[in-house]
């Protein structure tokens, strides 16, 4: 009993350790984090310039534009999830370590979301204001991104693991991952649109929540499996 408890704590410690380590690495290389965030801001700001500053049009486009930009930004940051650990051999050590690999992967995914997903969520209201979204729509946008962006990181991790060390991996990962992101995109922007249309949006958020829990359970396993295939 005592041994098991100790073991359990040990696992928790590994999980926290890897999150702390990845966050520390991100803080040391702040520009990586900022690049993703600025990419998000720039993509969202390009749309008014291309379709014109007509506020009614922009307001209807806003949920879709912000969500597509979030998809692209989180996808763009995917190859950083494992590549530096792969290059310096850390990843190989993680694979042969006795720790549960899915748990380590989950830790890395969480760290990735904290570094790339969370800033997008926090930045989204500012961009929504640019598009003249009413305040309750802004609120729904933030909530939908808050539940949805972790799913993007979880599913994206599979793509990142499969394309590890391949030539043209960055473009390839988009081909693999973007079709799988479509349900999140539909219900994420759908929630905001429903709110703006005065319809109940709870169903949309519940579905994103369901995607979140399903991918939370399965994605780390599939990612761990993919890493073993890629490093075999």
């Amino acid at each position: 009993m005592h041994h098991r408890l100790l073991n359990c704590n040990y696992f928790d410690a590994m999980f926290l350790w890897i999150i702390k380590r990845d966050l520390l690495l991100a803080v040391r290389r702040r520009s990586d984090v900022l690049i993703t965030l600025f990419f998000f801001v720039i993509v969202v700001s390009l749309f008014p310039l291309s379709v014109g500053p007509e506020m009614n049009l922009l307001r209807t486009m806003a949920p879709g534009v912000v969500w597509v930009a979030a998809l692209l930004a989180s996808m763009l940051s995917l190859n950083r999830m494992f590549s530096s650990d792969y290059q310096d051999g850390t990843l190989e050590q993680m694979l042969i370590s006795p720790q549960s690999l899915p748990l380590l992967v989950l830790g890395k995914t969480l760290a990735h979301w904290l570094v790339t997903g969370l800033p997008l969520v926090l930045m989204a209201p500012v961009l929504g204001i640019q598009y003249d979204l009413p305040s309750d729509a802004l609120f729904v946008l933030v909530i939908s991104l808050l539940i949805g962006t972790p799913v993007l990181s979880l599913i994206g991790a599979i793509g990142a693991a499969l394309t590890l060390g391949l030539r043209g991996g960055g473009v390839l990962v988009s081909l693999l991952v973007l079709p799988l992101y479509i349900p999140i995109l539909i219900f994420g922007s759908g929630a905001v649109e429903a709110n703006m249309a005065g319809v109940d949006f709870a169903a949309h958020l519940s579905l994103i929540g369901a995607f979140f829990f399903v991918s939370l359970v399965f994605a780390p396993w599939v990612t761990a499996w993919s890493l073993r295939v890629s490093l075999e």
């Binding site: 599979i158 499969l162 394309t163 391949l166 030539r167 043209g168 991996g169 390839l172 081909l175 693999l176 973007l178 079709p179 799988l180 479509i182 349900p183 539909i186 219900f187 759908g190 649109e193 429903a194 995607f211 599939v222 499996w225 993919s226 295939v229 890629s230 075999e232």
Partner: protein, 247 residues
């Protein structure tokens, strides 16, 4: 007498079996194709609503069905390859992908050709059309992942994982798109009302479906033979084939 079920899971023995089977399936494909097209274009009556334009269903519907079936079949083979570590299963999955993608493209293409006279537009963001388009993306993702990996064993396994993830996601994507569609779509066309079909039309269509199956099997076997030769080029049995001038 115990039957050796796994005899043909060896690429070497499957190679010759596939070689014998290809002409049979190819002949069946040609015969069924001629029958199906003849029924479709000459015997089946003109549709009272859609005129002659409906005749494209004899190509469109089989292509759409095949595109979906083949993805599932591909994922099954890929899954077998991953679970039992049989090389031939993975090769089958790799061989199926281009044919599946071809049928997906064909379904989209004939669909837009059909849509123009019927709905007055090449493309509508209908749930079925959109999911078919996403299916094409999934095929392309599978093929480009395998193409990017040089090591064949890694390519097999990575492809298998993405095919399985894709097959789990297809229903999710389909229902998401369908719901999105009902939320968005105002006064557009509905593709969901399948009109009652004359029995000759149905017959022609089913024959075309069988023709597509036979064609797919023949082409996939041909492709898997080429993949076997490519992967096994270092082995003695391939060298002997070359010496005999068979390959």
């Amino acid at each position: 007498m115990a039957i050796n079920w796994f005899k043909y899971s060896s690429p070497a023995s499957f190679y010759s079996l596939a070689g014998k089977m290809i002409p049979l399936f190819a002949a069946a494909a040609v015969i069924l194709l001629i029958m199906g097209l003849y029924i479709g274009f000459f015997i089946a009556p003109t549709d009272f609503q859609q005129g002659e334009a409906y005749r494209i269903i004899f190509i469109h519907v089989p292509a759409a069905w095949m595109s979906m079936f083949l993805y599932v079949v591909m994922a099954c083979w890929a899954g077998f390859g991953l679970a039992f570590n049989t090389r031939l299963s993975s090769m089958m999955a790799t061989a199926i992908a281009p044919t599946g993608a071809m049928f997906t493209f064909l379904a989209l293409w004939t669909g837009s050709l059909w849509g123009k006279p019927m709905w007055g537009t090449w493309w509508v963001w209908d749930a079925r059309l959109t999911s078919e388009l996403i299916l094409l993306f999934l095929y392309i993702g599978f093929m480009s992942l395998q193409a990017a990996i040089d090591d064949p064993r890694r390519a097999d396994k990575a492809g298998a994982i993405i095919a399985l993830v894709g097959v789990v996601n297809i229903p999710i994507i389909y229902f998401s798109v369908q719901w999105w569609n009902t939320l968005h779509q105002g006064a557009s066309v509905s593709v969901n009302q399948a009109p009652a079909m004359a029995s000759t039309m149905l017959m022609g269509m089913l024959i075309m479906v069988f023709a597509s199956w036979m064609y797919s099997i023949a082409v996939i076997l041909k492709r898997v033979r080429i993949i076997i030769l490519e992967r096994e080029s270092h082995t003695t049995w391939v060298a002997e084939l070359q010496k005999d001038g068979v390959a």
